[in-house]
């Protein structure tokens, strides 16, 4: 059973259309959802959490329908929104109490450990915290009820490098529990290196690609050429290309299939997540 199963999801706004979204995230794995601002990442999270309604398609969380079994499905989710909807004047202790009372599986010991680790003062008001401290507190609140699916909407956005590292370390630690699945959105692809087992790129409301790290490592390649032969650029495995100072860079999703077309002295590299995003979203083709 998949932790998250999204099938043929559509949501239409006057100026935006989230179109034919299909995502399968198995238990115990992490998926990076990458896209530019306004690509549809937050909209997708909001639909999963039933803040917004999908026009068509289905969403299942550990086999539970996201609307019919809403409360039960949500009890298995830890949702970290891009903009936390906390009442700013409340103290951290009050907010924690409000969270802890609604989760039967609340782990107070884990919360207190995180509070100590992040040096949070529970008597402080939420509004008095810095951006980094707010994120740490939000993560501490969200990760202490033994959720099976973590939905993290740009958890590292706006953080300084030190806090960013702390947050990513925390996520890596959470991922050691093989029962947990994580869907993490970001537009900073470097955050996903070493975390995401799957990479999904979304742009303008459509999923451009969704592949496992192994597949990307095995078959995806960057091909650097001085000039592009038509038989290469027209190959169906070419996912994107961009012009560089030294020539052209092509991204293929099936290097073995076009290896015979590539000249002998061509530079071939394994793409990182950023290369893939840039070629697919911002590429010249």
């Amino acid at each position: 059973m998949n932790a998250l199963e999204i099938r043929d999801l559509n949501k239409r706004f006057p100026k935006f259309h989230l179109q034919d979204i299909n995502i399968s995230l198995p238990q115990g794995f992490a998926m990076g959802l990458v896209g530019r601002n306004g690509a549809g990442k937050t909209t997708l999270f909001k639909i999963i959490m039933n803040h917004l309604f999908n026009d068509s398609g289905s969403i299942q969380i550990n086999g539970l329908h996201h609307r019919r079994d809403e409360a039960l499905a949500k009890s298995q989710i830890a949702y970290v929104a891009d903009a936390p909807a906390f009442s700013a004047e409340l103290s951290l202790q009050t907010l924690k109490n409000a969270f802890a009372t609604v989760y039967k599986t609340w782990d107070e010991q884990k919360f207190q450990t995180m509070v100590a680790k992040f040096q949070l003062n529970l008597r402080s008001n939420y509004k008095s915290l810095s951006k980094g401290m707010k994120t740490k507190f939000y993560l501490a609140l969200s990760l202490c009820h033994d959720a099976q699916l973590l939905l993290l909407d740009e958890p590292t956005a706006g953080l300084d490098p030190v806090v960013r590292r702390e947050v990513l370390d925390l996520l890596r630690q959470e991922l050691q529990d093989e029962k947990k699945a994580v869907l993490i959105s970001t537009h900073v692809t470097s955050d996903l290196e070493g975390i995401a087992d799957y990479l999904t790129i979304i742009d303008n409301g459509r999923i451009l690609m969704s592949e496992s790290r192994e597949t990307i490592s095995d078959t995806w390649r960057l091909i650097k050429l001085d000039k592009i032969a038509p038989q290469i650029s027209s190959d169906s495995s070419i996912e994107g290309q961009s012009k560089t100072a030294f020539g052209y860079s092509l991204l293929t999703s099936n290097y073995p299939a076009i290896r015979s077309l590539i000249p002998q002295d061509t530079v071939i590299e394994r793409p990182n997540y950023e290369d893939i995003m840039i070629h697919m979203v911002k590429g010249d083709s």
Partner: protein
């Protein structure tokens, strides 16, 4: 549901507490003219408070937070419905206590002072204007394609107009401006005048607000955040 209601209280208590001085000031200003129905003036305010539960916090933060927790929309709507009635009960008790206290301690000199400044008239003008604005809002929202907000404001506006109506029931002589709107409610008033007791008025108000809350629930189930 109890957890949901507790959580609602945590998130919204500041708003409710903020309304208490407003209710108190309203009562103090209106007391000299409200004779036997003094707390009737405060009742519509009590009924507006629960509606605020559904109008939700600025930028809908409170509701977004609830929807991020293990609550279904249906559960939240039901919880708020019950919260609203509890709140109305508490508000009513508060008004009774305040009313009795005012009856005992209200100084005659203050009544004359308030009457001299015509503060209660000013307050009634403001109340009536607010009601009209709230009724007018839906037109604006409808033009902007925001039907949900339009319905919520209709509910709020109706509540305030109910306040004006019930005040007519208990005021022997209203301010001149109200002669203009008297015609709007005159037929209803004439129909009820013969037999409409305070209890009947209260029951009708409760029934109307039950419908109002049901409307709010219906809206909430369809609102996107």
């Amino acid at each position: 549901m109890v957890e949901m209601m507790k959580r609602d209280w945590i998130l919204f208590k500041n708003k409710f507490l903020f309304m208490i001085p407003i209710m108190s000031i309203s009562l103090i200003l209106l007391y000299p003219k409200a004779d036997e129905g003094y707390f009737i003036i405060g009742l519509p305010l009590i009924f507006i408070l629960p509606v605020l539960l559904f109008v939700v916090d600025d930028k809908d933060k409170g509701t977004q937070q609830l929807l991020s927790l293990p609550f279904s929309r249906k559960g939240i709507a039901q919880g708020r419905f019950f919260s609203a009635w509890i709140l109305m009960g508490v508000g009513f008790a508060y008004l009774l206590v305040l009313g009795f206290s005012l009856g005992i301690f209200y100084p005659e000199a203050f009544i004359s002072f308030v009457g001299y400044l015509k503060l209660e008239t000013l307050f009634l003008y403001l109340w009536f204007l607010t009601a009209l604005v709230l009724i007018a809002f839906p037109v604006l929202f409808a033009l902007l394609g925001k039907g949900i907000q339009a319905l919520v404001f209709v509910g709020l506006g109706l509540n305030l107009l109910l306040g004006v109506f019930f005040m007519f029931q208990f005021q022997s002589a209203g301010p001149d401006l109200f002669e203009i709107i008297k015609g709007l409610v005159l037929s209803i008033r004439a129909y009820h005048q013969g037999f409409m007791s305070y209890t009947t008025s209260l029951l009708i108000l409760i029934l109307l607000n039950w419908l109002n809350l049901r409307l709010c629930q219906w809206i909430f189930m369809r609102k996107e955040f």
